[in-house]
Symmetry: C2
Subunit: 118 residues, 2 copies
């Protein structure tokens, strides 16, 4: 029932400054990398990020409100997927350039030697 | 003599999150657009942005510290140019995608109907 509160900008409403802001955090970038590699939507809890639940919720909201990800409720889970087609249409080449330039794997988010929390 | 304080990251030190953050502000994006169109370095005061001098100084510092622009002192002026080669080398396609996706001209920074201050 919370799905009513999950606002998503339309493709036409996407703003490059908002998209760049959403991508400018190492942890959000890691989420986007993971979604880009995932053939299926992923639950919020399935990401290896060493952050609190509230911080994780914040990151997903920033990504959703910027139009980078789509979130939908399914039962008690919130499923996430990348809005690749919308991003590629509005800002051709941007997502690919960001993904290519982002640090590989968990090195982007976990301090050296610090295991990611699950 | 202030040039000693103008720190610039090396090409190898550029971080994509910092670059994306620097580009995620509409006014900084406008500065980058203007520099991309300029064959010669430009003075800080030569940009049509409706912001205070201290805000402008802040924007230039964010861009410089992220490695997006190079700043150097020349007499009493501070000259700016885009670090296009460094950005293209580290993050191929990123700058072009951002420039292509950014709103055209001053529409990026001035509210509708509000003329830019000069």
């Amino acid at each position: 029932m919370n799905s009513m509160t999950l606002l998503h900008p339309t493709r036409e409403e996407l703003q490059i400054a908002s998209v760049l802001h959403a991508l400018s955090d190492p942890q959000r970038l890691r989420i986007v990398q993971s979604l880009a590699e995932s053939p299926a939507p992923r639950r919020c809890g399935s990401f290896d990020l060493d952050v609190t639940k509230s911080t994780l919720t914040h990151h997903f909201r920033v990504l959703r409100e910027a139009g980078v990800i789509d979130q939908r409720e399914e039962g008690t889970a919130r499923l996430n997927c990348l809005r690749r087609a919308d991003l590629d249409e509005r800002f051709p080449g941007l997502l690919d350039a960001v993904l290519a330039g982002a640090p590989a794997g968990a090195a982007a988010v976990a301090p050296a030697g610090a295991p990611a929390l699950r």
